[in-house]
């Protein structure tokens, strides 16, 4: 009897711990929605800030985050997927492969601000790209790479070995097998990983602080070599650097950023579950 009481106590304890962990998450999202919703209007989403950023909208920051995410995708998706193909389809199980895996693990653990320093040293100064969308996108790409590589590799490895054996046995080359058989089968998993990776890049502030983010720009960036405003950096600026900033605009900006992130998350989950339902193997 006693040990059943211990079990009941233990289960109750873990249930309340979980509750205490999850409840604040719901509260955070709920609070941002309630506080931010009154700020959302067509003007807020489509106008540039003015009056020392205390009025107007956040359009340039939205566009900037879109450009940065796009730039990150251009560099990190081909590179990451190719690296995943190498690890899953070509790499032998040897020391060098072990070293590659160790490098990927380390890349995923490097603090985001250190990526910022690296981007400043390599892209901004050494390659002379300046404080620009290009420098920031390249920095974010390298940070995103480990997420894309590991999720894409997992998706590729999940494709049954028989698919490869059969394709090779009817005379296809290794690359033909990968391109026509393996990649299409693994695509939903790869897309899920790409969305999650880019989502993280879109929400990051520290790596773009000194590589591409601008405090305030009166107009939209015209080329990849221009600096840009970005949503997360804009939220940082208006909540710490601008005195007497109206609260409503701050919460509105947070809400737009959070909705973007939540939507990307839902999209990733949708792609994943739809692919699971359709899978024939």
């Amino acid at each position: 009897m006693n040990r059943n009481r211990v079990q009941n106590f233990g289960f109750a304890l873990l249930t309340s711990i979980t509750f205490l962990t999850v409840l604040p998450i719901l509260l955070v999202f709920g609070y941002i929605i309630v506080q931010g919703l009154p700020a959302i209007s067509w003007e807020f989403l489509s106008a540039a800030p003015y009056g020392g950023m205390r009025s107007g909208g956040i359009w340039p920051a939205i566009v900037g985050t879109f450009y940065l995410t796009l730039g990150t995708a251009i560099f990190s998706v081909p590179l990451g997927v190719a690296a995943a193909i190498y690890l899953s389809e070509y790499a032998a199980d040897n020391r060098v492969t072990g070293l590659i895996r160790l490098a990927i693990i380390n890349l995923s653990g490097i603090p985001s601000v250190v990526y910022g320093l690296f981007g400043l040293g390599l892209f901004v100064f050494f390659l002379k790209f300046g404080t620009s969308i290009l420098s920031a996108s390249l920095t974010l790409s390298i940070m995103t790479l480990p997420v894309i590589i590991s999720t894409a590799e997992e998706a590729l490895r999940a494709v049954p070995q028989a698919f490869r054996t059969i394709s090779i046995s009817v005379g296809a080359t290794r690359w033909q097998t990968i391109r026509r058989i393996i990649l299409p089968e693994a695509l939903p998993g790869i897309i899920t990983g790409v969305i999650l990776g880019l989502n993280r890049a879109a929400g990051e502030t520290a790596p773009i602080l000194f590589t591409g983010a601008a405090f305030f720009l009166p107009r939209l960036p015209g080329s990849p070599l221009d600096a840009t405003m970005a949503l997360p950096y804009h939220l940082f600026v208006i909540s710490t650097q601008v005195p007497e900033m109206p609260l409503q605009i701050q919460y509105g900006t947070a809400l737009v950023l959070v909705s973007f992130v939540v939507l990307m998350n839902l999209l990733a989950n949708f792609v994943r579950s739809r692919a699971r339902a359709r899978r024939q193997w």
Binding site: R3, T15, V22, I85, A91, G109, F236, N265
Partner: protein, 298 residues
């Protein structure tokens, strides 16, 4: 035709191989640039100054100890939050929760993981720190404690997902055997499943702590940014400044190539080495476990 095919196959294979090796190149490049810009500090600032307890670059004081102690105390606090809550949630999700609850809890925790750290910092300034100030009667709510609580929240998703994976990969037969011998579910979790998953659980804790040390925006926004040497647990209730926040706050204002610029890269180098140690240790724990399992099976 045949020749074309084999040539393109050759090129594609080479390209893919090069991409595969790129991860090594990037780690090397990052290390190289940190060394290149950070090492001059050792020549420009004498060691007594560098390891002193005063960080005030305007007057050429480059003591990194307050920054390191700031990072340590905030990270320690974050671990005290993330370990019980993260592991508790992971055990609940993996072992106790019914299926429907799991389907709700997992995406929720993932959602927290996707929340940009700047948003948590923003709520920390507006909601958490004013309440902490009133609750604890402090002169300011922007303290190491506020940073610890938020960093704990940021680390929780990492701890939960890695620990839950580890618990999930414990073979079903272990649990069945324990239950068949008359153990309760609680005894099975505590004496069989958790010990079997302990290396994975340890990895979860290490990766969570690693995430906390490297977090930048949240701590910069809520810890008050005072580079004061932390001397004990009392410092939890005072403003501190971490290594990451120092880099983020000051790099924008320094001239490239100056002593201050090099000192900030030096701090970045220290952070890089810490993350390297944490990640290599965490992954070698996993490898060791795998080897032992292989030995048992063979």
């Amino acid at each position: 035709m045949q020749k074309d095919l084999s040539l393109s196959e050759f090129i594609v294979t080479r390209l893919i191989k090069a991409c595969g090796y790129s991860a090594i190149l990037f780690v090397a490049l990052i290390f190289y640039f940190l060394l290149r810009e950070g090492l001059p500090t050792l020549a420009e600032v004498d060691l007594g100054n560098l390891f002193s307890s005063r960080w005030y670059p305007v007057e050429s004081y480059y003591g990194v100890l307050p920054l390191i102690s700031g990072s340590l105390i905030v990270t320690l606090g974050a671990a005290l939050v993330a370990i019980p809550f993260g592991l508790g949630t992971a055990i609940f999700i993996a072992e106790i929760a019914p299926r429907w609850a799991r389907e709700i809890l997992k995406p929720l925790v993932e959602l927290l993981g996707g929340l940009p750290s700047v948003v948590l910092g923003f709520l920390g300034i507006l909601v958490l720190s004013p309440n902490l100030r009133i609750l604890l009667g402090l002169p300011t709510g922007l303290t190491a404690l506020a940073g610890s609580l938020l960093l704990g929240a940021i680390s929780i998703p990492t701890v939960v997902s890695v620990a839950e994976d580890a618990l999930d990969s414990v073979p079903r037969s272990y649990r069945d055997a324990a239950l068949a011998l008359g153990a309760t579910r609680w005894q099975t979790i505590w004496r069989v499943t958790l010990p079997a998953a302990r290396s994975g659980v340890l990895t979860a804790v290490m990766l969570g702590v690693g995430r906390a040390i490297g977090e930048t925006m949240t701590v910069m926004m809520v810890t008050g940014n005072a580079p004061v040497l932390a001397t004990g647990l009392g410092s939890l209730f005072a403003p501190v400044r971490t290594m990451t926040a120092t880099i983020a706050a000051e790099m924008g204002e320094v001239a490239s190539g100056s002593v201050h610029y090099h000192a900030l890269f030096f701090i970045g180098m220290v952070l890089f080495v810490i993350s390297l140690i944490v990640n290599i240790t965490a992954s070698s724990v996993v490898f060791k476990q795998k080897k032992r399992a292989e030995r048992v099976l063979s």
